[in-house]
């Protein structure tokens, strides 16, 4: 059970000595409660408190990291069921499945394309995380050849899928020293797979048809000394997968049920056709998968998924922001005015809606104010004449709105003088304080 700041505070020395770098013990306790700092920053905690606090600090869901050649994919360590309760931390890794019945050249081609795939979304380069090589041929030679082909074409982390421990062993040999994810242990083969996991210090998936089976097998595998486990429920329907993952997360996070306190892998590629696969992968991303294996790899398939993942794993505690830029509302012409606001989403939406509702065309310049509302941003020095002028230049507003009339929010009327200095050839106007009054203002003052 997570402790509150006050509960932790009661275990601290309460001397407010500031040695931890925080002004008071309570301030430090609250950071601890939020899991933003480590306890050892306070040199004065008693051993007893240390023990108690360590217990509450163990994450309910184990962190699993797949590494290869400096590339890393993490899953687990999540602490909430719904993103609004705090945030989700580790984006599910997207792995492209390669079956070993493919010819080496075909493998290399597919892998190379996926390996270099990168797309830019709101200034961030998004990529795929790795490959899952599956033994479908039944031959260890084909499997090891396929693994080698994948490794030759990409340095990203790998998941090895095979039922047969002997086949798996061959694949592991190719990746010696890498610790790929072994997929995996089932009711029949778990001992052999666990041995391999031990031998290669690699994480292991555990499969089961029901939660009972999963938990049983986890305990068995744990009994063999395996700590790094990924759950691979055998269900393949949307409803089955959803229910299973919801329950696994609930048990781990709310009940602290250790036997299922691991991330879950979803093989969306098993869904059948690409249309179904896409839906399955989308569900896996929005609902609790730690690793997602896809078969289809077309940019129009990958791009939406990778964006969805980015969206769902955005920290909702951060102020909701929109992209700074010059927005067109009601098809503005160069002669139409430019209204300025900040990139705080609520601010942006209320302003944009009002302009839209007025039916009058306008340009809406959204300045980067670090996601703060007009007044807050102004107070913190993030929305001043200089910044507005910078946005005007950055988004080349002058070339689009050649009339050069710019309207400031009424709340920052004080900036008008400075803005005139910053933008000497612009006509600076002061608009209303509240968005509601924009239509009236536009009708009266701007036409």
């Amino acid at each position: 059970m997570a402790l509150s700041g006050i509960q932790i505070y009661k275990m601290l020395p309460q001397t407010n000595c500031k040695d931890c770098g925080y002004p008071t013990c309570l301030a430090f306790a609250m950071k601890l409660a939020a899991k933003q700092v480590e306890l050892d920053l306070c040199p004065h905690v008693s051993e007893e408190s240390k023990a108690q606090l360590a217990e509450s600090a163990t994450p309910p869901q184990r962190l699993i990291t797949l590494k290869a050649n400096g590339n890393e994919v993490k899953a687990g360590n999540e602490v909430v069921l719904f993103r609004h309760e705090k945030t989700y931390y580790n984006m599910p890794g997207l792995f492209v499945r390669i079956k070993d019945d493919l010819l080496a050249d075909a493998i290399k081609e597919k892998v190379a394309a996926a390996d270099t795939y990168s797309t830019n979304y709101v200034g961030i380069d998004l990529v795929l995380d790795g490959f899952a090589v599956e033994a479908v041929s039944g031959s260890s030679a084909s499997f090891s050849a396929a693994v080698a082909a994948v490794r030759a074409a990409s340095k990203k982390p790998v998941i090895l899928i095979a039922q047969d421990a002997g086949v798996m062993a061959e694949g592991l040999k190719v990746l010696d020293g890498e610790a790929p994810l072994i997929f995996g242990a089932g009711a029949e083969n778990w001992e052999a797979m666990a041995d391999l996991a031990t031998q290669y210090k690699a994480p292991l998936t555990v499969t089961g048809n029901t939660l009972d089976e999963l938990a049983d097998l986890v305990e068995k595998v744990k009994g063999k000394g395996i700590e790094d486990i990924v759950l691979a429920p055998a269900t393949r329907s949307l409803h089955g997968e959803l229910t299973t993952r919801v329950l696994i997360w609930r048990l781990a996070i709310k009940k602290n049920f250790r036997s299922l306190g691991y991330p879950v892998i979803s093989v969306a590629g098993d869904a059948g056709d690409p249309a179904k696969e896409m839906v399955s992968a989308a569900q896996a991303i929005s609902k609790y998968a730690g690793f997602v294996v896809i078969d289809s790899f077309a940019p129009d398939f990958v791009y939406p998924l990778i964006v969805l993942r980015q969206n769902i794993y955005t920290d909702p505690q951060k102020p909701i922001q929109v992209q700074p830029g010059l927005y067109e509302i009601n098809n503005p012409k160069p002669t139409d005015p430019v209204l300025v606001t900040t990139n705080f989403s609520i601010t942006y939406f209320s302003v944009a809606n009002e302009i839209e509702g007025s039916g009058l065309p306008a340009w809406l310049l959204v300045a980067d104010a670090e996601g703060m509302s007009v007044l807050t941003a102004w107070a913190a020095g993030k929305f001043d004449a200089e910044r507005i002028a910078k946005s005007v230049k950055a988004f080349d507003v002058a070339s689009k709105a050649t009339n050069r009339t710019i309207v400031l929010p009424g709340h920052v009327a004080v900036l008008s003088g400075e803005l005139e200095e910053e933008l000497p050839d612009w006509n600076v106007r002061v608009g209303p304080r509240e968005a509601v009054d924009i239509p009236a203002f536009m009708k009266q003052a701007m036409t």
Binding site: F82, R83, H84, S118, T119, N120, Y121, T210, L211, D212, A215, E219, T235, S237, L238, H239, G240, L242, T243, T244, V246, L247, R250, L251, K255, F257, S259, L260, A275, K276, M278, V279, A282, Q283, S286, A298, P299, D300, F301, V302, Y303, P304, L305, V307, L308, N311, I312, T314, P316, I320, V322, S345, I346, F349, S350, N353, E356, G357, S358, G359
Partner: protein
């Protein structure tokens, strides 16, 4: 090792809302659509009731739209020239409901008149027996003018009138009350604002089982995460017993997705975006699926292929798992 299934105990229930009225009920629809009634989070069949499956509406317009993607216009081709034909085609494509969005102006650029709006609505009502949602063009005064006319001309149909916003709800709510229709309460991605608008509408005297709420969702890549979380929060509040959030949620992934550059634009886009048509359909589908997972009861789409995919997902998700 038997694992004890952790069930959440909810004491609230989403209201059951019925759209459309048959002849017996004072309308002309051949069938009605009922949504809501959930007593658990989306598709958690093992712990609560989900008596009505989420439904899909297809959006059509009163005339060929100027601002829709050519992918959609090519697809509907000349059916888009006549709302009656279009509505019929949408029904054939598998829609549970039709959303008719009124245009701000007619093809000549003159403002849409109330008569024209009524005419379009009547045509659609004649062409299909499905329940109908009618959206104004989105400008307060025009919406009020057109929707009041439509509402009066179709008294008793239990149409869904879209949309009420905090700045403009009184007129639409009043006409819905007077003419036996439903309304949509729309708020910009904020739990509190949604709830506040529902309270204000209910304070006017419209029974809440005639209100749907649209939390505004954004599209994939354009703020869908806010919509996603706002919907989860609203649904949780509803299940916790907060009467003012116990309304079925309507979302418009078609509108949201098809205004993104990803769907609208086929040329001069990065190669990493892939095939235009597939991407556009995927965009709409994923937007819809994410909203489905977060609690949507009515999804308004634009492309029949997206409809097919989302429909398949709903069917799968409405199956209760045998074992967990």
């Amino acid at each position: 090792m038997p694992v004890e299934i952790p069930k959440d105990k909810w004491n609230g229930q989403v209201r059951v809302v019925t759209l459309g009225a048959t002849a017996d009920q004072g309308g002309t629809r051949t069938s009605t659509v009922t949504v809501g009634g959930e007593t658990t989070m989306p598709f958690m069949h093992f712990e609560g009731e989900i008596p009505h499956r989420p439904v899909i509406a297809l959006e059509i317009k009163d005339r060929r739209p100027d601002d829709w993607s050519s992918l959609l216009l090519d697809l509907w081709s000349d059916k888009a020239d006549d709302p009656a034909v279009w509505a019929k085609a949408a029904e054939e494509a598998g829609a549970d409901l039709i959303q008719l969005s009124l245009s701000l102006t007619n093809a000549d650029g003159n403002p849409t008149t109330p008569e024209a709006a009524v005419d379009a609505v009547k045509k659609v009502l004649a062409a299909t027996g499905l329940p109908l949602l009618v959206f104004g063009p989105g400008q307060a005064d025009v919406d009020n003018e057109l929707l009041v006319a439509v509402a009066e001309a179709t008294k008793g149909e239990r149409l869904v009138l879209g949309i009420c916003e905090d700045k403009n709800y009184r007129t639409i709510v009043a006409t819905a009350m007077a003419n036996d229709h439903l309304v949509i309460a729309r708020c910009p991605m904020d739990v509190n604002l949604s709830k506040q608008l529902n309270i204000l509408i209910s304070d006017m005297g419209l029974p809440l089982d005639r209100v749907l709420m649209d939390p505004t969702t954004g599209a994939l890549g354009y703020g869908i995460e806010y919509g996603f979380s706002v919907m989860e929060r609203l649904r949780m509040a509803a299940l916790q017993g907060d009467a003012m959030t116990q309304l079925p949620m309507i979302v418009t992934p078609g509108f949201e997705a098809w205004k993104t550059k990803e769907s609208k634009v086929g040329v001069d886009v990065p190669e990493s975006w892939g095939d235009w048509e597939q991407r556009a359909i995927n965009w709409e589908t994923i937007t819809a699926v994410a909203l489905l997972e977060s609690g949507a009861d009515i999804l308004v789409l634009r492309h029949p292929e997206s409809l097919k995919r989302v429909r398949a997902a709903i069917e799968d998700l409405m199956t209760a798992p045998e074992t967990v």
